[in-house]
């Protein structure tokens, strides 16, 4: 298993605490990313990331096995491509989603302008003619960086708890 994945299996956001203003800014950013995904404002969602950001997902089963990810988008163009798929290149109808993000733990990153967090999420989905159902549950392992005074997502690894994915799993997690 890659060392970086082995380390985060402990899900320890170890490190020093951050000041209240940083905590508020980062928490707001986590919530904004969830809301923009639910509102299908994909280009706005993408703007929350740094140009060199990484966005990837892995099932917990594979996280603790060899680290096989569902996908790993690195950099602005890869994020842009994912957004384009969501906006039209995929033929899969997406139901309305609703993210709930909680259990946010924040610690200082490697520099004064970086922060590490872990948080839990659940995502309900309401497809056409269907009731709201739990679609995904898991954990965000995030790194944030302040660039020109603005906090952005530098890395987001989504650890999906499900061992049997739902048939349509193309939404932004």
């Amino acid at each position: 298993m890659p060392a970086n994945l082995a380390e985060i299996t402990t899900f320890e956001a170890a490190g020093t605490t951050v000041d209240m203003a940083t905590e508020r800014a980062v928490t707001a950013l986590i919530f904004r990313a969830a809301r923009l995904s639910d509102e299908r404002r994909y280009m706005d969602w993408m703007a929350l990331f740094t140009d060199d950001a990484e966005y990837s997902a892995v099932t917990y089963e594979n996280l603790i096995y060899k680290g096989l990810r569902l996908f790993r988008d690195v950099g602005r163009t890869a994020l842009h491509e994912r957004v384009a798929w969501l906006m039209g290149m995929w033929q899969v109808p997406r139901g309305k989603t609703l993210h709930i993000v909680s259990n946010i733990e924040i610690s200082a990153g490697d520099t004064a302008d970086s922060v590490k967090t872990t948080s839990n999420f659940i995502m309900a989905r309401t497809a056409d003619l269907e009731h709201s159902a739990l679609h995904a549950a898991g954990r965000y392992v995030d790194k944030f960086e302040r660039r020109d005074g603005v906090w952005l997502i530098k890395d987001r690894l989504v650890v999906v708890d499900s061992n049997l994915l739902p048939p349509e799993f193309t939404e932004l997690l």
């Binding site: 890659p2 099932t59 060899k66 996908f71 842009h80 290149m89 033929q91 049997l164």
Partner: protein, 415 residues
Amino acid sequence: MTDVLIEKKNLNDVWGDNALGLDGSRVIDRRIYVDPSIYAAEQEKIFAKTWQWVAHESEIPEFGDYVTATVAGRSIVISRGDAGRISAFLNVCTHRGAVLAAHPRGNSAGSFVCFYHGWCFDAEGKFTAAPLAAAYGENLGKACYDAPPIRHEVFTGNVFVSLDPSIEPLADFLGAAGPSIAVYTGRHVALGRVRWLLKGNWKLWHENFRDNYHPMYTHAAIGANYQGVKIEGLNTDLTGGHSLMAFPFQGNPDARRIMMRNITGKSPEGQVSSHRPPAPNPDVRHNIMAVFPNLDFQFQNSGEGGGFVQTVRPLSIDQAVVEIVVFGEADEPAEAREARLAQFLDGQSAAGKISGDDNEAARRCHLGFGSVAEVRWSNMDRGQDEGRQGGKNDEYSLRSFYDAYKEYMGDSLAI
């Protein structure tokens, strides 16, 4: 040509008398997707009578390692025992019937202990002990208390099982598909699995891997690649229900960038970098090999790099589990391995840029089968050349499946 086919229509074929006026080998009776009696017959006549891919031996490298699989309703353990031996046995305690291994993957440390009353079985499923056994007198020392062994064979690292003790040897069953399996997986290791729920009959998923007519339309990005391109590649019936589609990655390398700009209103700032689906490259031959009844291999050229093995197993008449196993070359450099683990799956799975659409195709078809009473027949007539091979977009592969399907199902289709 249609007139010729009508003349050739085989009235002895269970599907020979169809509303499309085609030979019975060139149509599908949609009742096979929705009829409960056919579904029940498939379990016993196909899934219990064929070789089923269940694991790659690299997934169980150490003593005690095991994986479980479900075949025709039976849970099966595939386990590594003494001297590296691989065993397969029914995952059931012979005492009261509880499954012995409750996880899809694990290590038994050489002993499967039933959680219910503590009966013990070794890594090969043999009964070894029961707690407080004196109360049974002398009656427990019998082979009938072993978890029943299941016929299994390992073919170039791929572990297959069959519930049919008298089934032909695996190499014979695989036939012309065997040499390709050796090339695709012979020097590879499994790197992980992802499984997802399919909302549709299991055959819809397997059919999709025998159908290269759909990608240009179902998968928008691939469709863009192909505009204005003369399509190359072959679609071949390997007999025995197995088939191979082999084709180059063709098309306009800028197509995806153009689509991204058109859809999002913004030009990509850098090189489009997604690993999957790959950019057009005429030097790369993509191979999609389907093995009857529910197994697919996807590899490039001669297996360089890595590839995918997929199975689809029914949960019910209208739901199935698709499982994909990712393979890399055993000795690939660390950097290549890291990249494969990170991005190789990008087009696949329920989250995949390609497979996402395929899941939807199965869902929509199954919904459409609600009209089976009015629209009973599916056309499977693409490719008019005699013989077993035609163009990439033809349906030799699909007809190969249904030739074998009818053979296995026999009179169960005469409903």
